[in-house]
């Protein structure tokens, strides 16, 4: 079984310790969220796990065959149209041009993009549409491990929900493993099996919350009560400095 295992991971920029002795494991089919305030080293942790940053201290074992990222900003190539942007990962995998066009179109329609949008360049797309394309690009390759770096944070609640539902479908089918970064606790509760609380300066995991109810059975009430519970948790209050409000 594939897994992502992080052991005694530390990282610093110069004299600044960003991450201090991080330990956790993500098993195949799991959704694990990292929750913490901005600037607490969440993105650094994701970049280390995905191999975008070189490791300094500790061990990272990543045995997933394929991976993809949906970034906070869509990062669409401005000189490629919607379909070619979605098919970008497939092209890198060496999929034939006909097949990648067919697969890109299929997923684009699934993500509620119109056929009239297919030839458009990113400059002609709204923020929400760009994020859909970015999501489609990450998912069309059918990655075993998906990194989500706050991809929902700039979206309105309707679109946020819609994209989350796509993720939920994949989770329900146990097709995918997700490493999810967010500062939105409610979002994390809706989607994850495990939430790791990352406290800043230096970044360290102070608490792990686990949720047993399957994602598909988590209704709004469940999410709200769990959110309320977490928000009254002492570690959460300290980490997010909630008492100063």
């Amino acid at each position: 079984m594939a897994r992502l295992k992080v052991e005694n991971l530390s990282f610093s920029f110069g004299y600044d310790t960003i991450l201090d002795n991080i330990n956790f494991e993500i098993k195949e089919g799991e959704v694990v969220s990292i929750v913490g305030p901005s600037g607490g080293g969440k993105t650094t942790l994701l970049r280390l796990c995905s191999g975008l940053l070189d490791r300094q201290d500790g061990k990272i074992e990543n045995s997933f065959e394929t991976q993809a990222i949906a970034f906070q900003d869509p990062r669409l190539l401005p000189w490629k149209n919607v379909i070619d942007n979605i098919a970008f990962g497939l092209k890198a995998m060496g999929v034939s041009s006909q097949e990648r066009e067919a697969r890109a179109k299929e997923i684009a329609l699934k993500f509620d993009l119109e056929e009239s949008d297919f030839e458009k360049f990113p400059k002609e797309l709204s923020g929400g549409m760009s994020q859909r394309v970015s999501f489609a690009r990450a998912l069309v390759t059918k990655p075993k491990l998906l990194f989500l770096d706050e991809p929902f944070s700039a979206l309105d609640i309707g679109l946020k929900r819609e994209l989350q539902d796509h993720v939920m479908e994949l989770i329900a089918d146990k097709e995918i493993t997700i490493f999810f970064i967010t500062h939105d606790i409610m979002e994390a509760i809706r989607l994850s099996d495990k939430i790791l609380l990352l406290a800043p300066d230096p970044g360290r995991i102070v608490k792990i919350f686990e949720f047993d109810v399957p994602q598909s059975q988590r209704d709004d009430e469940y999410v709200y009560t769990q959110t309320a519970k977490l928000l009254s948790d002492r570690e959460i209050i300290e980490t997010f400095e909630l008492e100063f409000k």
Binding site: A68, I69, R75, L77, P78, M93, P122, T141
Partner: protein, 260 residues
């Protein structure tokens, strides 16, 4: 290849959009004719007379030969600027130190008036091809260099990161990520350099050679043959316009279509 077909397919529509440009050229010619009526043939020959002179010039083998010589000089100078300028610009762009070092030098090169270069080149190379080509290179190479440098310096890490996640092979990274971005900077620089090369070649010829369009222009001046002088100018401008609007502009539109 796909882009090339697209350029050809869009070409008729592009030409059709040129009516406005043609109308404004006719307006200019009309103003020119008024100038002729005010100042007389000696100062400003009429457009009609100029075009007549141009037609007879094109029948004269000496003139067409001179035109070819000028074209050759411009193309040699421009070609060298294009290849060397692009290569050096890309190279400098990939190294921070090189781009910091090269900036002031480029500013000096660009700030130096071409006429000064011509004088120096005449001392160094004498009267002939080398002087003209040298001046063309010295004037147009920095433009290409800066374009390539800026294209490379402005490459964004975020796309590279995105590509790394998908394990994009190096060749694909080059063609799909670096090239479109760099080309959108380099190509306009090439167009600007071509215009510069064409202007400089005539100026250098006028001062430093006994053949080519520039020399013909010098001859027309010494004989006070205003009609011929104007006809040569029209030929020069006409050629540049054909090159720019028939060949370069459609390519530029295709290449830059995705830009804001």
């Amino acid at each position: 290849m796909k882009s090339l077909l697209k350029i050809l397919r869009d070409f008729p529509a592009y030409l059709w959009s040129g009516w406005g440009a043609i109308a404004s050229i006719f307006l200019f010619i009309a103003a020119w004719d008024i100038g002729n009526q005010v100042y007389g043939d000696m100062i400003l020959p009429s457009p009609l007379e100029t075009f007549h002179t141009l037609a007879t010039l094109f029948k004269d083998p000496d003139f067409t030969q001179g035109l070819m010589i000028t074209l050759r000089r411009a193309m040699v100078g421009f070609g060298i600027s294009l290849v060397v300028g692009t290569a050096l610009g890309l190279l400098a762009g990939f190294f921070v130190t090189a781009s910091i070092v090269s900036r002031p030098i480029v500013t000096i090169l660009m700030g130096m008036p071409p006429i000064a270069w011509i004088v120096l080149a005449m001392i160094w190379f004498g009267m002939g091809d080398a002087t003209v080509e040298f001046t063309v290179i010295v004037a147009s190479l920095p433009i290409v260099f800066v374009g390539a440098l800026q294209g490379t310096r402005t490459l964004e890490d975020k796309f590279e990161e995105m590509a790394d996640i998908f394990k994009v092979p190096l060749m694909m990274k080059f063609f799909d990520i670096y090239l479109p971005h760099i080309f959108s900077y380099v190509f306009p620089a090439w167009v600007a350099a071509l215009g510069m090369a064409w202007k400089i070649v005539v100026m250098a010829e006028l001062l430093a050679t006994s053949d080519g369009l520039g020399a013909d222009l010098a001859m027309a001046r010494s004989q006070l043959d205003t009609a011929s002088a104007l006809a040569i100018v029209v030929a020069m401008v006409g050629l540049l316009m054909v090159a720019e609007y028939i060949f370069l502009e459609p390519i530029k539109r295709e290449v830059e279509k995705w830009r804001d």
